[in-house]
């Protein structure tokens, strides 16, 4: 392959990642049918591979791709026979996009930025969370069904059925393809943020399997958070989520050591944290925290920012972290957040205080079977020199943890305690 061909391939791959949602969303306007729009978008990317090799990569690849996909869509609609007349079409409203939402395609005609419509439709409350997640990855991120299936460790046939059912419901139940009205927007954006956050946490710590960080899911969720920030620049919850993913991801290079071994925050080489990402994240946190009440993402991001700004583990402002978790538990009561708060108490006020907080959570049904609770207890007991109890707790944590890297870490701690 010549260098040119390689360059073109790279340009198409780059455009696929950055422009897929824009191209598909604008094409859905023409077809009013998700499947046809997907086919035409796919074909536009295939055409780019051939055309750009001959004519060079256009100045604005997104506009070229959108024009090509929309032209194909018009041809498909024109050539369609009567058998398609009864195809259920997406319901849309005739809202005119604002001037800042408009780009122009290669013919100078405006391209509507329909990405917010697309993502709002994928995350509609009438679809369950697994369907919202699958549709977002497939339609907004342009992943294939096989890729989506791999990301969630389910069989491809299962994922295909899930996506087909969700698309069918959108068409037949007439889930509208539109930006939600202002009154519903916060609730609808919240659902979108929950999906993006779930993608990020799934990628950040894969629940089961070998790798600790599934890079592609993390990257897609950061891309999605950036896209939402551009589409909703004044939404503090969006700023909070972007801050959270950027600050957490800033530590990615240091989360595992040689051989993929898990490194705790305490053991990580802070010099290798991504300083530019931390600066971006902390600016966003300040903005996000101005909302009253702040979003849960803003508070979680603020906690990540306290860690990011501490020059060493010993300098961590644990009192501030306990206080932030306190606000978080008040606004969004959750046993998992309470567990994190208890761990922070263990550093702010010592392991005995932390253990007392953890033991108060022992009866929480939501934490039964949650490996982080015995793991946290084990750590407090170890620090208190109560080795026998610590061994038992590490053993319990191992039974409840499926991620290989996390298991290795727990087994290592258990070994360090020595034989009873």
């Amino acid at each position: 392959m010549s260098d040119d061909a390689a360059d073109v391939e790279a340009a198409v791959a780059d455009a696929h990642r950055r422009e897929w949602a824009l191209v598909l969303a604008a094409t859905v306007r023409v077809t009013r049918d998700l499947d046809t729009a997907e086919d035409c978008t796919q074909e536009a990317f295939a055409a780019a591979l051939a055309d750009w090799r001959v004519r060079g990569v256009p100045d604005r690849p997104g506009a070229w791709l959108t024009t090509t996909a929309r032209r194909r869509a018009l041809n498909v609609l024109r050539s369609r026979g009567v058998e398609h007349r009864h195809l259920p079409l997406l319901v849309e409203d005739a809202a005119v996009p604002g001037p800042e939402e408009l780009a122009t395609d290669v013919d100078g005609a405006p391209i509507p930025d329909d990405r917010l419509r697309l993502v709002a439709t994928c995350c509609h409350p009438a679809l369950d969370r697994p369907a919202q997640v699958a549709l977002t990855l497939r339609l907004v991120c342009g992943l294939s069904t096989a890729q989506v299936a791999r990301a969630f460790l389910v069989a491809e046939a299962t994922m295909a059925a899930r996506i087909t059912r969700a698309k069918k419901k959108i068409a037949l139940a007439r889930i509208p393809y539109r930006v939600p009205p202002a009154a519903e927007l916060p609730e609808r954006v919240d659902a979108v943020l929950a999906v993006v956050h779930l993608l990020f946490t799934t990628g950040h710590t894969v629940p089961a399997g070998e790798e600790l960080v599934r890079r592609d899911l993390v990257e897609r969720s950061v891309d999605l958070a950036r896209m939402l920030r551009r589409l909703l620049p004044r939404d503090p919850a969006v700023a909070g989520l972007l801050a959270l993913v950027v600050l957490t991801d800033a530590r990615r290079e240091t989360r595992t050591g040689p051989g993929g071994r898990l490194l705790l925050l305490e053991q990580q080489d802070r010099a290798r944290w991504d300083r530019a990402a931390i600066a971006e994240g902390t600016t966003l946190v300040r903005e996000a925290l101005r909302a009253r009440p702040p979003s849960r993402y803003a508070l979680q991001a603020a906690i990540a920012a306290v860690h990011a700004e501490a020059p060493t583990w010993e300098d961590t402002d644990w009192t501030e972290i306990v206080a932030l978790y306190g606000v978080l538990t008040q606004l969004w009561p959750s046993p998992v957040v309470a567990l994190n708060r208890a761990v922070a108490v263990g550093f702010a006020a010592g392991p005995a205080a932390g253990l007392a907080e953890l033991d108060a959570l022992a009866g929480e049904p939501q934490l039964a079977g949650y490996g982080y609770l015995p793991a946290a207890r084990a750590d407090m007991l170890r620090r208190l020199g109560r080795d026998d109890e610590a061994r038992l707790a590490y053993g319990e944590a191992l039974l409840l943890t499926e991620n290989t890297v996390e298991r290795d870490f727990l087994a290592g701690r258990l070994r360090d305690l020595g034989a009873p």
Partner: protein, 113 residues
């Protein structure tokens, strides 16, 4: 425009033991509901309240059995047929639909043409 049914599932015992005042209140709620639907951009095309599931008779393959098709704590007790432009509008109507002892299910109606 499309048609949707709003299927009302409620605890029948609550109605069996309800006072006449409570029943009046529920009827008033349904009257207020039907009056409010046009304001949401939808139309009530029809609907009925059903006798309790204890009065039901099921037929499957010609065999007649006493009782509802499926025994559930919250039973189908009535429905509305509405016309709405999209699911969001239908859900706004459904949220307004009285069902104090249970909830409602929204199902699109197949359009044969």
């Amino acid at each position: 425009m499309a048609q949707y049914t709003i299927l009302i599932y409620e605890d029948e015992n609550a109605y069996a033991t309800a006072s006449p005042e409570l029943m009046d209140e529920v009827i008033q709620e349904h009257d207020a509901f039907t009056a409010a639907v046009p304001g949401l951009g939808a139309t009530v095309l029809g609907g009925s309240a059903l006798e309790p599931s204890g009065t039901a008779t099921s037929v499957r393959g010609g065999e007649v059995t006493d009782g509802p098709f499926v025994e559930t704590k919250e039973a189908l007790g009535g429905y509305y047929l509405i016309e709405a432009p999209d699911l969001d509008t239908a859900l706004a109507v459904a949220k307004l639909c009285p069902a104090r002892f249970g909830g409602v299910e929204v199902r699109p109606v197949i359009a044969f043409d």
